[in-house]
Symmetry: C2
Subunit: 246 residues, 2 copies
């Protein structure tokens, strides 16, 4: 079923189609569909638009990713289904941003399907969190904390989308700077990340891409000053206020 562009909620319905399609193709899980619905509700309360607290967090994310020695974009099933193209575009223009497929509900089959999906957008090198070379992030022995030694294993900055709270905490405990894209500023991931971009993923990534382009010409000193002046708590408070007051 295709949605006409004139429909008032066309964008939201198209994203939903990508997710359902992702479920049928084996990229997305049933839990992923429910999680997407939760995100939709928060986006609905935000008026389905990018707010200033999000653009500010995106500017901070751009500075961190530009300054990083070893930045990684962590991609799960929902992120791949919704924004595979956007992630690959970003990686192709900024190849120092590595792509790593990291799944909450892992299976070999699912990981391979996500890999193939990202390759269809032209991604060359993609790391996988669960593989023969995997190492564990500090914390429990939970296989969900497995990461690639050349990817998140040695990353200084990691961008996660729609991420589980435990995993986000494990990354932070492992000494990484964590940037998350999460529509719920009250979630554990939203609360614990160093930078929380409270925005819908397919709106946020092109803005991050643009910002990184314009930050190419910016000196490290200026970017560092931007990082130093970033007020994490104010951003979160503004996002919570927007959800609460509309």
């Amino acid at each position: 079923m295709s949605v006409p562009d004139s429909h008032p909620r066309a964008k939201s319905l198209k994203l939903r189609e990508r997710l359902v399609d992702g479920l049928h193709k084996g990229l997305v899980t049933e839990s992923g569909l429910i999680a997407h619905g939760r995100g939709e509700a928060f986006d609905y309360l935000l008026g389905e638009r990018t707010h200033p607290f999000a653009t500010e967090a995106i500017a901070m994310a751009s500075a961190l990713l530009t300054l990083a020695k070893h930045p990684v974009l962590s991609i799960n099933g929902n992120a791949a289904a919704l924004a595979g193209q956007e992630f690959v575009d970003l990686h192709r223009e900024f190849p120092h941003l590595l792509l790593e497929v990291n799944l909450f509900y892992w299976s070999q089959d699912r990981a391979e399907k996500i890999l193939a999906h990202l390759q269809s957008f032209g991604a060359d090198q993609i790391l996988q969190s669960r593989s023969a070379e995997s190492i564990l992030l500090p914390g429990t022995e939970n296989p969900r904390r497995m990461v690639h030694p050349e990817g998140m294993g040695r990353a200084d900055v990691v961008l996660v989308s729609l991420e589980d709270g435990d995993r986000c905490e494990a990354l932070i405990a492992g000494g990484k700077k964590v940037i998350c894209v999460d529509l719920n500023p009250l979630s554990r991931t939203g609360q614990k990340s160093h930078v929380t971009i409270v925005d819908e993923l397919t709106r946020a990534l092109p803005l991050l891409h643009e910002q990184m382009r314009s930050d190419r010409g910016v000196s490290a000193d200026v970017l560092q000053a931007r990082v130093a002046s970033f007020d994490r708590r104010a951003i979160l408070a503004a996002a919570i206020a927007a959800i609460r007051t509309g």
Copy 2:
């Protein structure tokens, strides 16, 4: 995967399991899973508890259903998967509340599976909105407005759960009093229904059941006074305030 009772979000995770199970059994659609996620987000903002604006709406619903000549409980895939038992329990104790299966994404196969699911809880007579005898509700020729002539077709009061806005409006245009159970007081269904119970379905139905039991001994005059004093706008405003301010 079963969830231990000690888990802080055990109830919510069990409901999610019922939905995913419903998808695998063919009762629930992918869109139903996403819709459930939206509901979860609103319930999260409500603190996952029944608020006074919900108990007040439930008391009003009980009065309307008790006074009704021909009340119908409309059941879709999500409602059946989440609260099939609760609907059937209510119908068995109050057989004048007819059960009618009414699906947004209809297929013969899906309708039959939902019927069998409700029968497994001991339901005897269950009507189906789409059948050889179906009639159309006023409005468009949309087959989604088909109802059973002995059920919603001649109902004076209809309780809908997790219902689509168009269908809710068609019922109202058809002269029915509509009671909805919907976690989003801002939705079209929530805004347009005569009585909006902003609560999670499996919490609300047992409360409605109890209230109807205690209303058995109450005179029609007292129930009518309750109906007359019901303030729809105040209930909606309180629910919206709760979601906005926590």
